[in-house]
């Protein structure tokens, strides 16, 4: 079991280590971690903390992509949930209610997407585009177009506090990832999601409740987005309906595919997707630390997407197989010739 998991994660882990090495070349202090005031400090800790939103989204997005879907609305959901929480806090409803309502908002957004996809049968790309367009409008409706700020130390703790030496967001995404992996792999949920992603019709014939499963996956995505929204909002102590979570859906998709999960659905690995999120953040922070202008970031991401596309392309795969076969044939022919 264990070696299998390691083989699956090896490319991502190696990529991460190589990247860290590269950054260290330019910025020798990258790996240094010190302990002060009861917390760990260092660039790597920063990477872990700032990975939180994308890592959380990558957990949900991995599941959505495993079902051959995509969720473009997560950035908008992040904005909505952040706005809900900030509004509740600012209106004095207290933290527990604010958190609960934000999570419910995320679940509701996921339910909306899930129903459109699984029940009405709209393509995921199209279905989630609706909320992507509409979501920021809804978030602005809640914040009334302003950046809704608040001063609630307990809420801010979620975004910038420290617990047991590590920033709270790190604990949240670690916890969510561990919980998700346990839930999916200790039960049959993971296998059933994979089955639906590979062949929904056949799974339904075998009695898998594909519709409910799909809706649940989009709702899980909504929940992850809500958590990410809470962290972002708590971190800046304000809800910015326009910019909170902007383009996060793209980073989340990127993290999932860096994690070696196929965009065409099926087998998935959440751990690999989370490592993908770490890779993205290491690049972002690494570029800054290494002294390059942060404008390089987007270009590097573009190149990354291209590399992954080439790796995942079915056409390239079949051509590669063809050439390998040809090469083998030629070798064998040569051997035969030599033998004669």
């Amino acid at each position: 079991m264990m070696p299998q998991v390691l083989t699956r994660l090896a490319p991502q882990l190696i990529a991460l280590v190589v990247l860290m090495g590269l950054v260290t070349l330019f910025y020798p202090g990258f790996l240094s971690i010190s302990y002060s005031d009861g917390r760990l400090v260092g660039p790597m800790i920063d990477v872990l903390k700032r990975s939180a939103p994308v890592a959380l989204l990558a957990i949900g997005m991995t599941l959505v992509i495993a079902t051959r879907g995509i969720d473009l609305s997560v950035g908008a959901i992040v904005a909505i949930c952040g706005a809900v929480a900030a509004y509740m806090i600012a209106s004095g409803y207290g933290l527990p209610l604010a958190l609960a309502l934000a999570l419910v908002a995320g679940l509701a957004a996921g339910l909306w997407n899930g129903v459109l996809v699984a029940v009405i049968g709209v393509q995921p790309f199209v279905a989630t585009l609706i909320l992507m367009t509409m979501g920021r409008g809804i978030a602005q409706l809640i914040t009334e177009g302003r950046i809704l700020t608040f001063t609630d130390p307990a809420f801010a703790f979620i975004g910038s506090g420290t617990a047991l030496g590590l920033p709270v967001p790190v604990w949240i995404w670690l916890g969510a990832a561990v919980l998700a992996v346990a839930l999916l792999r200790r039960t049959a949920l993971g296998m059933l999601i994979e089955a639906v992603g590979i062949n929904r019709k056949a799974s339904a014939v075998a009695g898998v409740n594909a519709t409910v499963l799909l809706v649940a996956v989009y709702m899980a995505m909504g929940l992850c987005a809500a958590l990410a929204g809470l962290i972002i909002t708590a971190d800046i102590r304000g809800a910015d309906a326009n910019n909170a979570g902007l383009w996060l859906e793209l980073d989340a998709i990127l993290a999932v595919v860096i994690g070696g999960n196929s965009l065409l659905g099926g087998r998935f690995s959440i751990a690999a997707a989370v490592i993908g999120a770490l890779i993205i953040q290491t690049i972002t922070i690494g570029i800054r630390l290494a002294g390059f202008p942060s404008e390089y970031n987007l270009v590097i991401k573009a190149v990354l997407v291209l590399v992954i596309l080439v790796l995942q392309s079915p056409r390239i795969a079949s051509e590669y197989a063809f050439w390998r076969q040809e090469a083998r044939r030629k070798r064998e022919a040569q051997l035969k010739g030599a033998g004669r």
């Binding site: 709209v122 393509q123 790309f125 585009l129 609706i130 992507m132 367009t133 409706l141 596309l309 392309s313």
Partner: protein, 324 residues
């Protein structure tokens, strides 16, 4: 009722009813001034939506156009500031660049056989990154030729201004209609959107068509970038974020099937005007906030997607019931 033309009629009906409602509340809205502004303000959007329509008809999507528009603005501004070339030459350079960029994406979509949205997502990052590399700040454009372009308009009866960029948008839409509905290339695009395997069997050159479709989208994005730079008088690498979504929304509200293979180029123009009408209404009203635009657009998209879904089910049911 032909299930193919119904969405177009619905689009036109929505626009007309919308206009009627606006007119009942604000009679001023029915003037050549407002119409002229509608065309001018949405010129860049209309142009890029024409390219997007063709891409969507072919069964693809192009997420890079917002970034390409931003890149175009920055490219023009920086070139005019630093090189001293004539704007027309800069335009030609830019259009060649964006067309080649689109063609390259089209080639990748075809060659990698991967979903278009992820390929053009890479294009989106790349174009935006390139714009950042040119300049992070907004670069003003100061050139006599530009001032001339900005000031060019025809006065319509009723003192409405039909600006050059508004006319350019209408011309691009007209060209789009001809390309999509009156050429063999256009028929190939519809064929690809209807089914790739069948289209290939019928003799569509898939690679060539795909490259051309995305090249056309790149061309319209570049053109849209020029128009936007004329409209705003500057180039800003952080501008036109999310324009691709607005363009997709216009196409869908225009009655084109988002999964490809069915739609009308003219519908996209109506979609763009509907979008502009909503914004105009909000401006006239004064008390409504801008986010209502997004919400209304979202609802319209949902309505059209459900309409198309319903039509598909209806025609299938009819066929199953054995109608000839």
């Amino acid at each position: 009722m032909n299930t193919r033309t119904l969405p177009l009629y619905v689009t036109i009906a929505i626009f007309l009813v919308g206009y009627l409602i606006c007119w009942l509340q604000y009679p001023n809205i029915l003037s050549t001034r407002v119409v002229g502004n509608l065309l001018t303000d949405n010129a860049y959007l209309g142009i890029v939506a024409v390219g997007m329509t063709l891409v969507i008809l072919s069964g693809g999507i192009d997420l890079s156009v917002g970034s390409v528009i931003a890149f175009s603005g920055v490219f023009i501004a920086v070139m005019l500031r630093d090189s001293g070339l004539h704007p027309l030459l800069v335009f030609a350079l830019l259009l060649a660049l964006t067309t080649a960029f689109g063609a390259a994406m089209g080639w990748l979509v075809y060659w990698l056989a991967m979903p278009a949205f992820i390929v053009t997502l890479a294009g989106m990052f790349l174009a935006r990154g390139a714009a950042y590399l040119l300049s992070v700040d907004s670069v003003p454009i100061q050139h006599d030729f530009y001032r001339m372009l900005q000031g060019a308009y025809w006065l319509m009866p009723g003192r409405g201004r039909l600006t050059l960029i508004g006319v350019l948008m209408l011309a691009v839409v007209a060209a789009g209609i001809v390309i999509a509905h009156k050429t063999r290339f256009g028929t190939s695009v519809f064929a690809l959107g209807g089914g790739e395997a069948t289209a290939r069997l019928m003799g569509v050159r898939q690679g060539r068509t795909t490259v051309l479709v995305y090249a056309f989208s790149g061309l319209t994005a570049g053109l849209s970038g020029i128009v936007f730079s004329i409209y705003t008088g500057s180039g800003y690498s952080l501008g036109t974020v999310g324009t691709e979504l607005t363009a997709i929304a216009c196409v869908v509200i225009g009655g084109t099937l988002l999964s490809g293979g069915a739609g009308y180029m003219f519908g996209t123009l109506v979609g763009v005007l509907t979008m502009g009408l909503i914004q105009t209404y909000i401006v006239f009203d004064g008390s409504l906030s801008s986010w209502w635009t997004k919400i209304v657009i979202g609802i319209l998209i949902l309505a059209f997607i459900l309409l198309q879904k319903g039509l598909v089910r209806l025609s299938q049911a009819r066929l199953n019931a054995g109608e000839p």
